[in-house]
Amino acid sequence: MNRIDQKFQEDKKLLSIYFSAGYPSLEDTVPILKNLQAARVDMVEIGLPFSDPLADGPTIQESSTQALRNGMTTEKLFTQLENIREHIDIPLVLMGYFNPMMQYGIEKFCQRCEAIEIDGLIIPDLPVDVYHEDYKALFDQHGLYNMFLITPQTPEERIRYIDQVSNGFIYMVSSAAVTGAQSSFGNTQTDYFQRIANMNLNTPTVVGFGISNAQTYEAASSHSRGAIIGSAFIKFLEKEGVNKIEDFVQSIR
């Protein structure tokens, strides 16, 4: 069974963390993963840096730019992750934009992911329709899940379609906004979380974008299966480095 499905069978709210591979330093990828697992994080999204991450806010873009300056590439990341399953057994998701994957070669990319035992992908600029038609068969063949985003503006009919094509989980974007930390959620957001919860989708949902502290984590995960934190974690890494990750996780739950 895919590790993501296994994880969602556990009777608990999940905490997932995103970071940009190659940030703060090129070789931090593996230490960050080890420290996140030691801090009992449930799942990790490893960001594949891109020069033009148009769905991301300034924090992730800057960490991405820095990672590229540090020398991160797709090949470099795969090399770093080569033996990762000797140390890490929580689900690992690669999150990145489609262009670097195209240049690497989609088939080769999937093969490498399968060999490393990556569990799934999140590709914000690969629309569900194109994925369904052109790439799903290939991803399935390599045992890779592909997760999609929905937003407060996504029409119900499209959410149903995404639910049908998805495996793993649906990534619920907390508000109509690019990534970035917020300190609290308003009624509009909790109403939206509740509306989606009431749709009784087949695929579990996790909330991402704008989650930065215990309060927003609690609000997001009370209407879903858990939450993803990105920008707030990257800001923490920038200030505290990779050795105090446990403190960050404890501040969330």
């Binding site: 891109f50 769905a55 873009q61 999609f148 503006q153």
Partner: protein
């Protein structure tokens, strides 16, 4: 072969809408409405009226006598440089602002590189009394001070794009982010035939007035409504798309696209996307773009700020791959020399972008009976500082 967009938003292998889900409702709304609205009689009337009394259309098709004699061929200039605001860009912004109004939008965003599209957008927003925010790379703001001042005079807010390389592609990223953050009340006026479907087709249609006029003007002047060659410069490719549009499927017409070679194709400082680009995705469109082997988008270079876009519109990528169009690239120096030549032989100071197109005359032979139409896409006022520096005027 068909060179127009297909029902899925593709030109051959290129195009489509590779956009984050957050943009889906905005882009879907446009896709579902742009053809319908543009076909409505009251839209067409308002669009045509504004092009006539506000932009100053039809622009002349001018026979360049001295140039024709020198090159022993028949050279016509489609005088888009005479449009209000100084270039063809305003044809598109008029169309899009009318569309935005009909979609009930009350806030406009745009990206700009050199500032021409920003000025054209700020202009139509002033005309309609709509809030206007223009994203511009921090570096470009410093390089293009007069256009920044124009936008401000027109009431627009110019927001610096401080991410990445701080130029056009980053301004575009910032505009897209703004649209993600403001999905309901805002329309994004893209300035070229780039971006997710339906933008490339929509912008090409608004610019197609250029070849629509060329057809009847040529008919009056030459007794036939098609030339042997159409020639235009291509950055993103909107002026070229406008000139080619009604001739795309007319095989009697040879299409020539001129890109900016910058300091030379092999120097690492170039914007010749057809020569240096590989298939990939930029700003929501599958097209040819300049990138590293790892798929990171690279920064192009050209002395003309309007041509240094790392991609090219998907229509042009298709014209290139299918060999429907001939692509050539012209280095800075030759383009600058043509800025001077056109000024002194025809009394027309062209934009540096536009000057690139004319250099095709030195690269290729044309017969004495052949009719060539150049898109004289913009005037050179905005480039005076560059001309002054370059020629020590």
């Amino acid at each position: 072969m068909n060179y127009n967009v297909d029902e899925k938003g593709y030109y051959g292998d290129f195009g489509g809408a590779f956009i984050p889900e957050m943009l889906y409702p905005n882009v879907a709304e446009l896709r579902e409405n742009y053809l319908k609205i543009a076909a409505e009689p009251d839209f067409k009337k308002e669009f045509d009226d504004l092009l006539k009394v506000y932009v100053g259309r039809p622009t002349p098709l001018y026979f360049a006598k001295r140039l024709s004699e020198r090159y022993n061929t028949k050279i016509y200039l489609k005088r888009e440089d005479l449009c209000h605001t100084g270039a063809h860009k305003v044809n598109n912004t008029i169309g899009q602002i009318l569309l935005a109004k009909r979609l009930g939008k009350n806030r406009i965003i745009a990206e700009t590189g050199a500032g021409q599209h920003g000025v054209a957008t700020a202009t139509v927003c002033a005309l309609m009394g709509i809030e206007c925010i223009v994203y511009m790379g921090e570096l470009d703001i410093k390089r293009q001070a007069p256009n920044v001042a124009r936008m401000k005079m027109l009431g627009a807010e110019v927001r610096p794009a401080q991410s990445g390389s701080k130029t056009l592609k980053d301004a575009t990223n910032e505009a897209i982010r703004d649209w993600i953050n403001n999905p309901v009340d805002t329309h994004y006026i893209i300035g070229s035939v780039v971006g997710p479907h339906p933008y490339p087709d929509m912008v090409a249609r608004f610019q197609s007035v250029i070849s629509k006029e060329t057809k009847w003007q040529l008919h009056e002047l030459e007794g036939r409504d098609y030339p042997d060659h159409v020639i235009a410069c291509v950055g993103g490719g909107s002026n070229a798309a406008g000139l080619y549009y009604h001739y795309l499927n007319d095989e009697r017409v040879n299409i020539i696209a001129v890109e900016a070679a910058g300091k030379g194709i092999d120097t690492g400082e170039s914007a010749a996307t057809s020569a240096l680009g590989k298939e990939g995705i930029i700003h929501g469109s599958k097209t040819l773009l300049m990138q590293t082997p790892d798929g990171q988008i690279t920064e192009p270079y050209s002395i003309s700020a309007g041509l240094d876009y790392p991609g090219v519109g998907p229509m042009h990528a298709h014209l290139f791959r299918s060999k429907r169009a001939e692509f050539i690239s012209i280095p800075d120096q030759e383009a600058m020399d043509w800025g001077l030549t056109l000024s002194q032989m025809e009394g027309i100071i062209p934009a540096i972008e536009t000057a690139h197109a004319f250099a095709a005359l030195d690269v290729r032979k044309f017969g004495p009976e052949e009719v060539i139409v150049f898109n004289c896409s913009g005037r050179g006022d905005k480039d005076l500082d560059t001309y002054i520096d370059y020629f020590k005027l």
